[in-house]
């Protein structure tokens, strides 16, 4: 245990999330990548507040990040359902209606 090990774990989570976002075409899988990245940021917040600052502020920030992730997932689900009703799939490449 130690700050550096936790930072390495969070870096691994971040890179897995980034890989998921970059490679997947399904919008739901892209959302999973975003959640992984939010989790890695949360680990960093809590680890620094535990090892370096000794203040509880990092944990409170992580709570707000979780709240935002919940709101984001709900709205994203609604958008995906609209996209599915409109185009018949949730592939991110298909959602180019605003392209001229």
């Amino acid at each position: 245990m130690g700050l550096d090990k936790l930072l390495v774990i969070s870096a691994a989570l971040f890179c897995c999330g980034l890989y998921t976002i970059l490679t997947r075409r399904n919008a739901v899988a892209v959302l999973m990548g975003v959640e992984l990245i939010l989790n890695s940021a949360n680990i960093n917040f809590v680890a620094f507040s535990h090892y370096v600052s000794r203040l509880i502020g990092g944990q409170i920030f992580a709570v707000f990040v979780i709240v935002l992730a919940a709101a984001e997932a709900a709205v994203a689900l609604a958008i995906f359902l609209r996209l599915y009703a409109t185009t018949g799939s949730v592939e991110v490449d298909m959602a180019d209606h605003l392209q001229g």
């Binding site: 245990m1 971040f14 970059l22 997947r24 995906f80 359902l81 009703a85």
Partner: protein, 177 residues
């Protein structure tokens, strides 16, 4: 702290990172969602090691119990169950793997080689009471803004997911075309 605690820590770390890798590479999106469940649970365990007991419980309740269910709903509502195996096409494997592995190398090298100003003597204490007190005093404004945001997200999601994008009346709720 050595011995069993270290062992549990490494098991949790392996669970978290291994499940995250499975999320990234598994071809079936339902398997990806289940792997994401284990990754979130592993992160909750890591919070316990960081003396963030409230956050660990919140992680299990909201991520594992809420967000993951939402994601599974999205999977099952947006894909025909029969062709769910083909529902997760991927591309750019080589470039993305190169970029992510390089980034992981840079980040972990930075994390290991930097001399972080770690305070000696790790203390483990319950944080729930302190978080509740700070949410009602110093962080009251963000707390209220977050509640308004959640309300707005709730109404917006309900409106968006209706047929006709919210223009129709509640009477004509039907199957989306």
């Amino acid at each position: 702290m050595t011995g069993p605690a270290d062992l549990v820590f490494y098991v949790l770390a392996a669970l978290t990172v291994g499940s995250a890798i499975l999320v990234a590479i598994l071809p079936n999106i339902v398997y990806s969602a289940v792997a994401l469940l284990f990754s979130f649970a592993g992160v909750a365990g890591l919070y316990v090691f960081l003396s963030a007991d409230f956050l660990a419980a919140t992680q299990v309740l909201i991520y594992v119990g809420g967000i993951l269910i939402l994601i599974l709903f999205a999977v099952f509502l947006s894909n025909r169950i029969s062709d769910v195996k083909l529902s997760n096409p991927a591309r750019f494997h080589g470039q993305a793997a190169f970029l992510c592995l390089g980034l992981f190398g840079v980040l972990s090298y930075t994390a290991v080689s930097t001399a972080w100003p770690v305070k000696p003597g790790i203390v483990y204490q319950p944080s729930t009471a302190e978080i509740g007190e700070l949410l009602m005093t110093r962080y009251l404004l963000p707390f209220e803004v977050a509640s308004v945001l959640l309300l707005a997200a709730l109404i917006g999601a309900a409106l968006l997911s209706r047929p006709d994008g919210g223009k129709g009346k509640a009477v004509d709720m039907e199957e989306p075309k």
